[in-house]
Symmetry: C2
Subunit: 309 residues, 2 copies
């Protein structure tokens, strides 16, 4: 730069929101994807699969929010090692940007063990805290050029490199693959798979009745025997012999893996940390999106896999 030139004026940027497309051909249209992951623990397989994603990395921004716990400190350190390696490695693998937020709020649970996390009485405080973490991450990282938001949990350790293109191809506001888990089946003495994420569902008259009779601030949660809702769970719809591309309309969604058109969030759809129609967090998000006239879908036969603790 020449000396004695006036300093550059601070940035003034103009965005025409209607030029921001979300299409079934997002790569051709150079659509930006914001990948958001709340992370209490770091899993190497998550990162390895993220690196293998073959959507152009220069169109991908990554955002993390990590709790201020001992485990969170470990996750933070492990993530940093990988981020630094990737961002100083081959150019084609580098992501457009990486934002890491350290959460300022306390986590309501002492233990992140699966057993503790999934106790019925822990659901409201746990998922309310998760909702706030997701909102904090979303409000802080979404920018004027974001076309899509891909929510993917840190413990989703297996997903195809074509995940973004595959989901975008459906051209729907919100879409979730089916989240399963690998395990060793002691009965058949073979590796097997089983259902994991019960938050992708179609509503039922029973669930609606239960909600109608609940106290104002009670919530309905899914996957608990003591609270049968008779909702149609997407995990139950998995059929390896059927059309792999089948799509179903959903009323509740999980956040394990979820592609959302950014305009859905821009209209105000967020993760309610309070009971919203007796739903919270990602399930409340689907309901809020529907109040804004955005529909949710699921792919029963398109699997991603959650870590098996």
């Amino acid at each position: 730069a020449k000396l004695n030139q006036p300093a550059a004026a601070p940035p003034v940027v103009h965005y025409y929101m209607n030029n921001l497309t979300t299409s079934r051909t997002p790569i051709e249209n150079r659509e930006t994807v914001l990948v958001l992951t709340p992370m209490a623990r770091f899993y190497q397989e998550y990162w390895d699969n993220l690196l293998k994603v073959n959507y152009p990395h220069d169109l991908i921004a990554l955002g993390y929010i990590i709790p201020k716990t001992k485990e969170g400190n470990l996750a933070y350190a492990a993530l940093q090692v990988q981020v630094l390696k990737t961002q100083s490695g081959p150019k084609a693998k580098r992501f457009a940007s990486v934002t890491i937020l350290r959460q300022d709020t306390e986590t309501p649970l002492q233990s992140q063990s699966e057993q503790e996390r999934h106790k019925l009485e822990n659901q409201k405080p746990r998922r309310s805290a998760m909702a706030k973490a997701r909102n904090s991450l979303l409000f802080t990282t979404m920018g004027p050029t974001t076309s899509w938001v891909l929510w993917i949990d840190a413990d989703v350790i297996e997903f195809p490199p074509t995940l973004i293109q595959d989901l975008a191809l459906y051209d729907v506001p919100i879409i979730a693959p089916n989240c399963f888990q690998r395990f060793y089946n002691a009965d058949t003495k073979a590796n097997d798979i089983r259902e994991y994420d019960f938050n992708n569902w179609i509503d039922s008259p029973t669930a609606r009745d239960m909600a109608a009779k609940m106290a104002k601030d009670d919530i309905l949660v899914e996957g608990y025997g003591e609270m049968p809702t008779y909702r149609s769970l997407m995990t139950k719809m998995y059929d390896p012999s059927a059309d792999p591309g089948t799509k179903v309309k959903l009323d509740g969604v999980g956040g394990a893996t979820l592609l959302v058109k950014a305009e859905v969030h821009r209209d105000g759809a967020m993760f309610p940390a309070f009971p919203f129609y007796h739903l919270i967090e990602t399930e409340g998000f689907a309901k809020m999106a529907s109040r804004l006239n955005w529909e949710s879908y699921g792919l029963p036969n398109y699997l991603v896999f959650h870590y098996n603790e």
Copy 2:
């Protein structure tokens, strides 16, 4: 820069959310303020007063959303002239950044005339569209360093240079000054002031009763004779002879001028575009914030002035 150095890695940024303060001494703590204005029309007095704001401009980011209408085009052009002038003028006056979004959604009303805007039957579509515009602006511009969000309408044409410090001093999550209007009083043959923004209110048993009896998607709006709510309006509390610093707790707020701690929005508090407890937009925002345990306050004797059409 040296030649043959490897290209800089894309940015990796770390933020400790607990280092982001919102204090009663925001200047000392170098707290960033995001000033957000939905703008259908440009008023020179708005801009002149914004320039006079004596909070350090390098800590202020500006964000605009402008509708895609003929009037919007005019506002856009007028705003650009002023922005370019300011951002290339004296350094101390320049703002940290300016983001201008052109809305992609249609505006529901043909006319922006006051009469048309304030018709009771136009309130739901109009305010629902405003809610989406505010959310779009908020979700798109809030960043990891934002401590405060100051909402100020484009037609608020008179406010003190110390506005930000004055409001921050109360150290509350959400705070609104009282929005009045100057006019020529034909009776007294003198310049006078009168109430303008009726959205700052304390709830009433009547309003709660009305809401309880309403159809699911009906909304309560304030300031309409055909729908008396008997809420306590902050405009009615104005008393020039009383303590100018008096603060009252509010249940509904307007967006004409409103200072919000960014963490309130980060928790997920946005402007509902759908009936939320029979409220929408800024009034719904106050309700949603209260569901997230954030309180709203108003300053009955601290005036800002709305343009008089």
